[in-house]
Amino acid sequence: MQMEIWPFLALLAGLAAIAYLLPIVPMRWRRALAIVVVLALLCWAPFVLDNFRTFQMSRVAIMAVAVLGLNLLTGYNGQVSLGHGAFMILGMYTMAILMDSKEQLNFIDARPWPFWAALIVATGISALAGLGIGIPSLRLSGPYLAIATLAVMISITPVLKKFGGLTGGVQGLRFPTPPPPEFLKGLIDRPDWLYFLSLITAVILIFLAWNLLRSPLGRALIAVRDSEIAAAAMGIPVARSKVIAFTLSAAYAGAAGGVLALLLGSVTPESITIADSINLLVGVVIGGLASILGSVLGALAVVFIPSDAAKIVASLPGLGGGIVERAPGAIQGALVIIVMILMPLGVAGVLHRMAGLDVRRLPEVVARLPSRMLKGAQLAAGRFRWVWDIRPWAQRRPFNPDDY
């Protein structure tokens, strides 16, 4: 049996929604059931989708990790980064260097590492880089931090080209992708195996993030985002929390990069561009700030909008030809803008509201949709204000004699 990607995704969404909205069953079970349904269908995916679409789904899993990583930092902790592509490519190169059969700088072993060990090291190196950038970033916030991290991303490409002894220069590195482990031989062939590897990595890292976010540390990240001054007064070490957020976030990006390198079997300095780096933030905002589900949905958008949006729009009656075919990028851009205006809290924000909806009230709700959207846009404006809070800490409480 073969399926197109869009019917498949529609089936996935439909079954998940049915499982989630089952009557009578308690909420916890419905959520667990929806997750099981989604995972079962995702395990089925490589057997019904063609190779290209399976590859794209692997990329979705990888991007979900990277977008979630950035969401930990931007959505939950209020620090905006445009440079997370740098941590991804760092993870990719670490992976490639450990997995290829060249001896680099006369000390890195020429024998390829097992992929899982290389993946752990790639994650760790990116985490260290995140720590190194997170500490000086304590002095920056809002757009200043965004620009500083963008500068990191801009500078990493020439650095990778320059140190060719380690990185293979402009050509980059190639290495054989690892074969599936013995016990899977015959069950799953090579490209599908990499899909499952991406999926498992994503599931594990999403689970860890979910635990983290409902722990005291997760609450601390949000508290620091909402009011540093109150967080400190309540015993939260503000600087430490921000550095932890940065480090974890970079580790997630590095893990995503590591798996991406496995999937591609090669890496060049152009594997992750500035546009990819910015796309991660686009994924966070489209999917939904401070939402795990939103991060996954954002990853779907980041992968499928560039590949399919222009085609779908061109196939609509009256929209074929012209700019749509000559400049597919313009369609992507327009689509992102439209999504952000219509769904200011991201796709996850819309779903969150729909989940609480009583079906009998549907007509009434549809009638009130325009005014609700306006309200949503105002809410979102407020949300952007805290993400983009450009006023430094000291200035947030200007000296006002009336206050003291």
Partner: protein
């Protein structure tokens, strides 16, 4: 030895001297009111005690320890919790989560423990939730536990701040204008709450407040600031008779132009 000892503390903002050589003691188990006209330096003094600002001079010690040696987030671990004049809650968190934030320092759960969530972490967290729920019930917020704090009214937010401060089980609580924006009924219940903190729970209260009836009603001791200086202190009834205090509040005799 008093619980909190403030000695010769000064704080300048550029040319403005917000707090000028202020000294006072706060005795354990008492409710101490800190009053003064706008701009007298009351909140600045709070911010100095909670380490948001560094003083330009002087010392502050709590329970015999120098608090100027600890970073801001350690102040609460010494036993000093506070509320804010402009209400600094965490709007995206629920009421319960807001209160839980103040338990973080006691839970001491690391990054790995958070991510892997072993059973003992879940158990500790459950206890923290129970304690938080107790404090919420004490302040009559129990029903609102799962509401996002950003959706609450101003008066409830103020009460939430008190709950958040109390869950840390402080020995001293700093309340910065808890009565502003409250109606008559809410004021009465606030007065009750403050009294019961000191009498029944043995928590010392340092209170900044403009609402004179409340301050005079609940305080054991009142300190008056004006233009950053301490101009009087004593029992509420003494202070309200003090000519310097009357002058600070009503202006110098002959100042008011006849109209």
């Amino acid at each position: 030895m008093a619980l909190l000892e403030v000695r010769h503390v000064s704080k300048r903002f550029g040319g403005l001297i917000a707090v000028d050589d202020v000294s006072f003691d706060v005795e354990e188990g008492k409710v101490v009111g800190l009053i003064g006209p706008n701009g007298a330096g009351k909140t600045t003094l709070f911010n100095l005690i909670s380490r948001i600002y560094d003083p330009d001079g002087g010392t502050i010690s709590f329970n015999g320890q120098d608090i100027l040696k600890v970073p801001p987030h350690r102040v609460i671990t010494m036993g000093i919790a506070r509320t804010f004049q402009n209400v600094e809650i965490f709007p995206a968190l629920t009421v319960l989560e807001n209160v839980l934030v103040a338990e973080n320092w006691r839970l001491r759960i690391g990054v790995w423990e958070s991510m892997l969530r072993p059973p003992w972490v879940a158990k500790r967290e459950k206890e923290a939730v129970r304690r938080a729920q107790e404090v919420l019930d004490f302040l009559g917020l129990g029903q609102l536990a799962t509401m996002p704090a950003g959706a609450l009214s101003f008066a409830i937010r103020k009460r939430l701040e008190i709950a958040r401060a109390l869950v840390a089980q402080p020995r001293l609580i700093l309340l910065d204008e808890p009565a502003s924006g409250l109606n008559h009924e809410e004021l009465m219940s606030l007065g009750e709450t403050i009294r019961s903190l000191a009498r029944q729970h043995n928590i010392t209260v340092l209170l900044v407040e403009h609402h004179m009836n409340l301050v005079m009603g609940v305080s054991d001791h009142v300190i008056v600031l004006n233009f950053g200086r301490k101009i009087a202190e004593g029992k509420p009834e003494e202070v309200s008779q003090n000519p310097a205090v009357i002058e600070a509040y009503l202006g110098e005799r002959g100042d008011a132009s006849p109209s």
